[in-house]
Symmetry: C2
Subunit: 194 residues, 2 copies
């Protein structure tokens, strides 16, 4: 593929990722993507023979990896486990305010919409969550938490963050994110590192 084709493909993925984060899978039509990306009509099926599903899966993987890298970068520079989670929640707060509560988690809306199906889109959402979970788990282990406790805490912290994003977006109010940060600190202070 030429450079121009590569850029056009990249723009479509970017436009789809943004649309999925803001309004979800069903609310996004391929025409919206053609318009938002400025891609020539008809080029979507050239780049994504599987159509909307394939483009969405690519977009979710891309957003998932970017968010995963942000997680990792934030966590790496953190002084303690609690500090790491607070830094992630603080980054989410900035993202939410800057987008006027239109953005939060790039995966959750689509995950909810497609969880009753068995297609590639839902499967991609599941894999992204698993990947984030593993990153959190490794991070906790690096601060001395044992396998069982790290597994448990990573699921609890991811749940807490996802739920807080949902409430903050719906209420257009950052307080649930702030409460999640405080709650995470309390959970991580519990002396049960097994």
């Amino acid at each position: 593929m030429g450079e121009k084709g590569e850029k056009s493909r990249e723009r479509m993925i970017r436009a789809m990722a943004e649309a999925l984060e803001i309004r979800g899978y069903s609310g996004t039509g391929l025409n919206d993507i053609v318009e938002a990306s400025g891609a020539p009509k008809g080029s979507i099926y050239f780049h994504f023979p599987g159509g909307k599903e394939e483009l969405a899966a690519e977009a979710l993987n891309t957003s998932g990896e970017e968010m995963g890298e942000l997680f990792q970068k934030t966590l790496r520079s953190s002084k303690s486990a609690a500090n790491g989670i607070e830094n992630i929640l603080s980054a989410l707060e900035t993202k939410m305010i800057e987008s006027e509560f239109r953005k939060g988690c790039p995966i959750s809306t689509t995950a909810n919409e497609t969880s009753s199906e068995n297609g590639v889109v839902g499967l991609t959402c599941r894999n992204v969550f698993k990947n984030w979970n593993s990153k959190l788990e490794l991070f906790l282990r690096s601060f001395g938490y044992g396998k069982a406790r790290a597994t448990e805490l990573s699921v609890a912290l991811l749940s807490l963050m996802e739920g807080a994003i949902l409430l903050s977006r719906t209420n257009k109010d950052i307080r649930p994110l702030r409460t999640a940060a405080k709650t995470a600190r309390q959970l991580l202070a519990i002396e049960d590192k097994r």
Copy 2:
């Protein structure tokens, strides 16, 4: 309105509530509701002059109230705050397994899809969450938690539950719900009742 009209209206609300829970707002067309409810075509606008938005708002309010009543009934019969949250999570687990992970929270998908708009549907989602939150807060206060701590804990617990529902549905696995129950118990055991 005659009894027949009332029943027909009720069936449409029911069908919409179910569709919103399973696949969300954008993925549900009025034709699906006509079909699922067995209502005569054209009767939707007779009952809901505001169309899809009005029907969805009614459906979300109905689901929200039902879930709120389930919350309250479950909480009233609980021996402790932790026991109450565990009972709610256990009811959610049953619902999720019985629906093969198609159902969980009746509000969250639509809340995510509409949080970037300012219409009646998003506003309804916000009100339902606020109502659930108040119920949880009152419950915690009845077990001796002070105002500030009860406010904080109710947001944390609702976030934790919503996030766990999302992860459980996406992974088709009840473990995130179980982890949320254990985590709620830990949070409620923290001696900070102010």
